[in-house]
Symmetry: C2
Subunit: 121 residues, 2 copies
């Protein structure tokens, strides 16, 4: 058993899941992977179904865990940009693989995702 930040993990896989688990995190991260950077509103528009509560909550956790970076672009009109940090980018193979696996699965089942979707590359 591994103890980290007061939580218990059974193995390295479990540790990683602690960072990217949850309904929206991998979605947010891979969005930022394809888009490089994104504002709060853009993120919201590109993650169909996410509520603002969930979005800001998950963004806060991802920032706390150092997977993403939030930069305040301007203060007078308060504008913000989210992007992957170095740590977040180190998960890039995962975003790619998970996405490609999904695409392959859909193809195998005769669904052409390109026609239906509207965000990922």
């Amino acid at each position: 058993m591994i103890t980290l930040h007061d939580k218990k993990y059974t193995c390295p896989v479990d540790v990683t899941l602690g960072f990217i688990g949850g309904k929206w995190k991998l979605l947010i991260l891979s969005h930022l992977h394809w888009q490089e950077q994104s504002s709060y509103t853009r993120l919201k528009e590109n993650l169909p179904g996410v509520s603002e509560k969930m979005l800001s909550q998950q963004l806060k956790e991802l920032e706390r865990d150092l997977l993403i970076t939030k930069q305040v672009v301007s203060r007078k009109p308060y504008r913000v940009m989210y992007s992957l940090s170095g740590e977040g980018k180190s998960l890039a193979p995962l975003y790619e693989f998970v996405s490609e696996w999904g695409v392959r699965y859909l193809k195998k089942h005769g669904i052409d995702y390109i026609q239906d979707q509207h965000l990922y590359k």
Copy 2:
């Protein structure tokens, strides 16, 4: 929006998450990845903290989703073996990557997982 088996997905990443999401699935799958095959009891022993309810529930779903295979090894004394199916094996890079990322994270934070853990290679 992608519809598959009466559920809605926003993108390919979401589709993949539909199969491997949840607290125990990736743990079960990667266990089977390292161990090749495992009995119910062995699985239980090697996933610290899993309840029998969760274990059999998740195994059932993984089998339904064709990621694992259950073979009845003997009937007189009822014995069973779980292993990855072809589909399950196609996720192998993911098990490897997620595990290695966890190991790297732990090392970076000065935790030597080999001493603490008891299952993954």
